[in-house]
């Protein structure tokens, strides 16, 4: 089964996929933008400012998903000595970091008309900022350390410490009194969001997921070519 994850086998797929994913992403994003900016209704309390939700929430979901994936891959990679898992993790991190940044900035912009302030040291916002720092440290570790074994170990440790923060982000709105509203969408129970708002949110989430897949594939291909470049030097 592990042979399936060998770079030689994967590259034949990853080198062809980006152009199709880019086309699909542009189509889904266009539909998502029309839905979220024009067709979806305004909120009875928040007015049109609720439209920020269509970029803020998908960015937050995607960044949390990517960090959890990076952690799982790093742990499995370290236990089973699968170097390709580290390569996949490294390629996922840039889009995860950018989505974290988008969630923080759009959350701050949304905070001004809703709470009357750009920033508050509230549990949800602060824990999201901490996640951004973990992403930053993770990305820096790949740049700083040149010894592969050392970088695998250090990045795995960073993700293990960082993953502790993920449930804190998720449950911070329930555990503490925060300015941030509780979750409106719940997989296990009935969501409090109307379908006219849920549909654009799902479309935008799909667009964000496609973009992260596109960036991941491009970055992964770059990393593979980098390895092959080093291989050519040794010939």
């Amino acid at each position: 089964m592990y042979k399936f994850f060998e770079p030689n086998k994967i590259f034949s797929i990853t080198s062809r996929a980006p152009k199709y994913i880019l086309i699909l992403f542009v189509i889904v994003l266009t539909i998502g933008l029309i839905e979220s900016l024009i067709l979806s209704p305004e909120d009875y309390k928040q007015g049109h400012s609720v439209r920020i939700m269509y970029v803020h929430v998908p960015a937050a979901w995607t960044t949390l998903g990517i960090f959890s994936t990076i952690t799982l891959l790093s742990i499995f990679g370290y236990i089973f000595k699968l170097k390709n898992f580290f390569l996949i993790s490294k390629s996922l991190a840039p889009s995860g970091f950018i989505f974290n940044l988008i969630a923080l900035v759009t959350g701050s912009i949304w905070g001004k008309p809703t709470w009357g302030t750009w920033w508050a040291w509230d549990a949800r916002i602060t824990s999201m900022l901490i996640l951004a720092l973990f992403y930053l440290i993770y990305l820096l570790a790949w740049r700083i350390y040149e010894n592969k074994e050392q970088v695998y170990k250090i990045t795995s440790i960073i993700t293990i410490f960082g993953i502790i923060n993920v449930p804190i982000i998720k449950y911070s709105v329930d555990w503490w009194n925060t300015l941030h509203q509780p979750a409106s969408i719940n997989i296990l129970s009935k969501s409090s969001i109307h379908s006219s708002m849920l549909f654009p949110l799902i479309i935008m989430t799909a667009a964000f997921a496609l973009f992260s897949l596109l960036i991941f594939l491009m970055k992964y291909n770059t990393e593979l070519i980098k390895i092959k470049n080093k291989g050519l030097d040794r010939l």
Binding site: F11, S15, V55, A59, P94, T106, I109, W110, M218, L235
Partner: protein
């Protein structure tokens, strides 16, 4: 209609700046990764071109290298 869409009852600045920031981040990240990819690919093509025929045929027999050489403009 257009004015209404832009102003959004006074929330336009917040909404449009959020979407603009998101799209700017998307574009910047895509461009940066694309530049890195093109740079590595060009480096590879130059390095491969300097190999003698024996080394080149050995390198070409490796799966990934074949793929890189056959996909010069895949993104």
């Amino acid at each position: 209609m257009i004015n209404e869409l832009l102003s959004m009852n006074g929330y336009g600045l917040y909404v449009w700046s959020s979407f603009a920031f998101t799209l700017l981040c998307f574009t910047s990240l895509y461009v940066v990764i694309k530049i890195q990819y093109t740079k590595e690919k060009n480096k590879f093509i130059i390095k491969f071109g300097t190999l003698n025929s024996e080394k080149a045929s050995f390198a070409k027999s490796q799966g990934t290298i074949k793929e890189i050489l056959s996909n010069t403009s895949n993104i």
